[in-house]
Subunit: 215 residues, 2 copies
Amino acid sequence: MAEKGISQAVIGRLPRYYRYLGELKTQGVERISSHELSKLMHVTASQIRQDFNNFGGFGQQGYGYNVLYLHNEIGNLLGIHKKHDMILIGAGKLGQAVVGYINAKDMPYSFKAAFDINKDLIGTKVGDLPVMSMEDMPSYALENHIEIAALTVPRTVAVETAEKLVACNIRAIWNFAHIDLRVPEHIEVENVHLLDSLMRLSYNLQRHQDAEAKR
Amino acid sequence: MAEKGISQAVIGRLPRYYRYLGELKTQGVERISSHELSKLMHVTASQIRQDFNNFGGFGQQGYGYNVLYLHNEIGNLLGIHKKHDMILIGAGKLGQAVVGYINAKDMPYSFKAAFDINKDLIGTKVGDLPVMSMEDMPSYALENHIEIAALTVPRTVAVETAEKLVACNIRAIWNFAHIDLRVPEHIEVENVHLLDSLMRLSYNLQRHQDAEAKR
């Protein structure tokens, strides 16, 4: 569970601020007003100020925000000052894609090992990572103080696999299985439910077309 | 843009209702009260009733909801009564994983073709799908009345690729590139920003650990 008082909606917007500020930094922009940032990000300036006020405001609004400072501060909130070694559970196509995507980014997150129960996959590689047997996962996770695991296993085994992760002191599960995990309060779960995402797109498309048909 | 008056937060919850109702249907459950559904889904019964009231309520609360009817109705809202042929733009690892994931589901969404600019990939296959040249995309999309495209290209080319899709009457873009697309109002975009998702997880983990350290 996150800190009380800051909604998950606000937290959900932090990575997007971080991304835009990173781009401004790359472009050499030193200061930006909430109004300029609002035009760039297509959100209202008042939303930006409200969001930032949850974290103390990040500096004077009249002079605009210091881009470098703001980027750093939001990065710190997101835990980006710290290296995060992660493991992958499920070395199939989706897992391979997730590892490739994340390990290619210049970010403090990186996968260090992959685990699977499929004997055909054990001993192969996912990118540079060795695929090990799930039997070796507990000792690896404990010895390397792994806190974050990505779960890219079929939904039929996701719940039991999550229980194994919890038993190895994993604190955060990035869940790609299309099922809601039931884990103890002290475990963070972030879901990437691809089918739910596609259904939302399909819903919005349908409504749009219905509205057009009524015109 | 979706129908006015129904928030994207409510719409975002519809696929989850659909998923749970599908499971209840499979288990042979015929009726369920908002209270029982609330316990199962770990949301309040009042939230469920409020969400459903956006769509006319779906039947009497006193007698509980008819599972089959409710599953169908939500499916209709989500556009699931209709077949959706889709195309993949970007046949790299992430694209391959997305096609494998979606085409394996027993759902009306399916990818019919994949396109890439990489000559090494053109002529190969993604699952059962031929990978074609991006030059052939416009005629394919127009002839087959494709409405939904998944965009799994690098962020550096995502914006220009989205413009090409819009020019071919694509109405909905499922965007996996880590950049916000700028498209005309009549185009729906649903983002799967994997890095943003991982950063949210990292934020919540960090806050949790900070709170524990203070105890």
